[in-house]
Symmetry: C2
Subunit: 353 residues, 2 copies
């Protein structure tokens, strides 16, 4: 039965992907018999099983988990879509998502959008195509339509959003109270007697930034501080955005005396410009960032910032996915988890009045 | 022929994954006819094509690109395996790989190993399972066997290694001249009259660290500097490793007067300990790092370091993959690209003698 072995083996070895048909051809078995043998089916003799196993090893057969995934509707892969991987916030959320999912037998496959809507759409398509069991995502800054996220929902693939979510999508969401964070910052700056606060922020079509701006406006009003409309500036929140906007703010007629930046990167860019210009921080101008990136304590002066408890956000996002996947039919009520965050007051905004 | 449409549509809509069989069932067509219609086959009438298209849209049918990928042997996805995503080095290499590959119609799917051999193996299996067209990787610190990388090669899937490569695998490789970098650093420190140089490095079973250690030893000999065996210390090169090892070095009988750390993170950890202990840098002790992470110019004193030209490494890695994929049969000679790198001399090691 297995006599063709020696003759065929050389020729088959140069083939790129060994299939169960190749193994069957080699041994004179049907693909179905090979499949049964590989799955230890009782109807297949031990001798045949052994021959199939040996051939599978020799031919470096790799079971196509994906095909079985398609049949079973399970790939044990979770797709993770993030705007950027190069911030401590995202890399630490990712690390914690991975820890929880790996413990539960899932592998994580990542895609980064670089804030681009186009890359986000392609990433979603890719992840759906490779049949991930779920998608955990934070929406790109430049995303203008949620059709692709809608598509994930419509496919019945569990979707969990964190940080940058969208109410209308009606899916599990883990985030912080952005509105309240703005209140914490403005209250602190007002208490330090800063009066002309500028807000460098993300695009207001993204919920978290909309909420931070709303919180900023309400808090300014609460503390009777005037809002200069041209000092609420939306951008991609990178270091170079902070630099560019800080330079523009310094050239304004009514120069601000405090900057609330919605990312530590933007705060760093702004701070660099102030140091270069010889402007005293915090004496002449205060800087507050957002995210508690490690560099915020490396630079002098250290940057005041919001600490978001990244680890907990990652864990809760993974747990929300696991709860969803374990209850595919049962209507589990949505997880809308809003975690506490804290203002870390450091020397960039503390003038010890 | 299409009369069942209105009755069936509601029931079908709740199904999770629409297949061509679902479309066929709805319209009374065979799956094969549906497939032909979707592929604009000349034997299928325009009327049927239109009906199939309408049904596909209504049922939110998503062509299984993966199945066609299996048939065509092409998925347009490239897998990227990196030890960590949270360093500027890796995120900037990744960004440049993505730029080149996206321009050429490929999408990038990432997996991070966190330096774990086990996670690396799983990631390779996953990427092979989802039939990526190629894999670009930097090997984990804790990897002890290259069997899984061998498996990629044996499957005929193009493999490009960067940064942490392995000679024996005989694949395209993009990196820097690590041996020479150690020479640059030791020559600089010797010129500044430092004599007792300790080397905090990665695990020597990884080629780049083996080469840095070899370069360190040879350069020390060249400059007639004694090597203390207990001051060449292998670790995972994170900030906490730098802190721990710096504390241990300070407790040694023969305290070093200069530290060459094989990562900026480890250099930062070491520097933090020195600043906490009130040891003057660079007067009493010098610190040199590796990688030119952005924080190396944020901290005071700024950290001297090796600049690796990350963007070029990423671009060359992507180009090596593209060259390989365009010449699947033709034996293209291996790309072994060793890029120049430069020592950035900053205040952490410059005592202006």
């Amino acid at each position: 039965m297995f006599k063709r072995w020696n003759k065929s083996i050389k020729k088959l070895e140069i083939k790129k992907k060994t299939t169960i048909k190749d193994i069957g051809d080699l041994l004179g078995l049907t693909p179905s018999a090979v499949s049964k043998a590989l799955n230890n089916h009782p109807r297949i003799s031990d001798k045949t099983k052994k021959a199939v196993q040996d051939a599978a090893i020799k031919l470096q057969y790799q079971p196509n988990f994906l095909s079985s995934a398609l049949r079973k509707g399970k790939s044990n892969m979770v797709g993770l879509i993030v705007p950027r991987i190069n911030t401590n916030y995202y890399s630490s959320v990712i690390e914690n998502i991975e820890d929880v999912l790996n413990e539960n037998g899932y592998n994580v496959i990542m895609a980064q959008t670089n804030e681009s809507y186009n890359k986000e759409c392609k990433s979603i398509d890719n992840l759906l195509n490779i049949q991930v069991d779920g998608i955990i995502a934070s929406i790109a800054n430049e995303t203008v339509s949620f059709d692709y996220y809608q598509k994930i929902k419509e496919k019945g693939v569990p979707l969990v959003l964190f940080d940058r979510g969208e109410n209308d999508l009606d899916v599990d969401y883990i985030g912080i109270d952005d509105y309240n964070c703005s209140h914490l910052i403005v209250a602190h700056l007002a208490g330090q007697n800063y009066k002309k606060i500028a807000h460098i922020t993300g695009y207001s079509h993204t919920r978290i930034f909309k909420n931070r701006i709303r919180g900023f406006r309400d808090a300014m009003q609460k503390f009777d501080l005037p809002i200069q409309e041209n000092s609420i500036i939306e951008c991609n929140l990178q270091v170079e955005d902070g630099r560019r906007i800080m330079k523009a703010l310094l050239n304004q007629e009514k120069r601000p005396d405090a900057i609330y930046a919605a990312s530590d990167n933007a705060a760093l860019g702004a701070l660099e410009v102030l140091l270069e210009e010889g402007i005293q921080v915090p004496e002449e101008m205060a800087i507050v960032g957002f995210g508690n990136e490690p560099f915020s304590t490396i630079i002098k002066p250290q940057i005041s910032t919001i600490n978001q408890f990244n680890a907990e956000i990652g864990k809760q996002a993974a747990l929300a996915f696991l709860e969803r996947i374990k209850n595919p039919e049962k209507k589990v009520s949505l997880n809308k988890i809003i975690l506490d965050s804290e203002l870390m007051i450091r020397s960039s905004s503390y003038r010890k009045l």
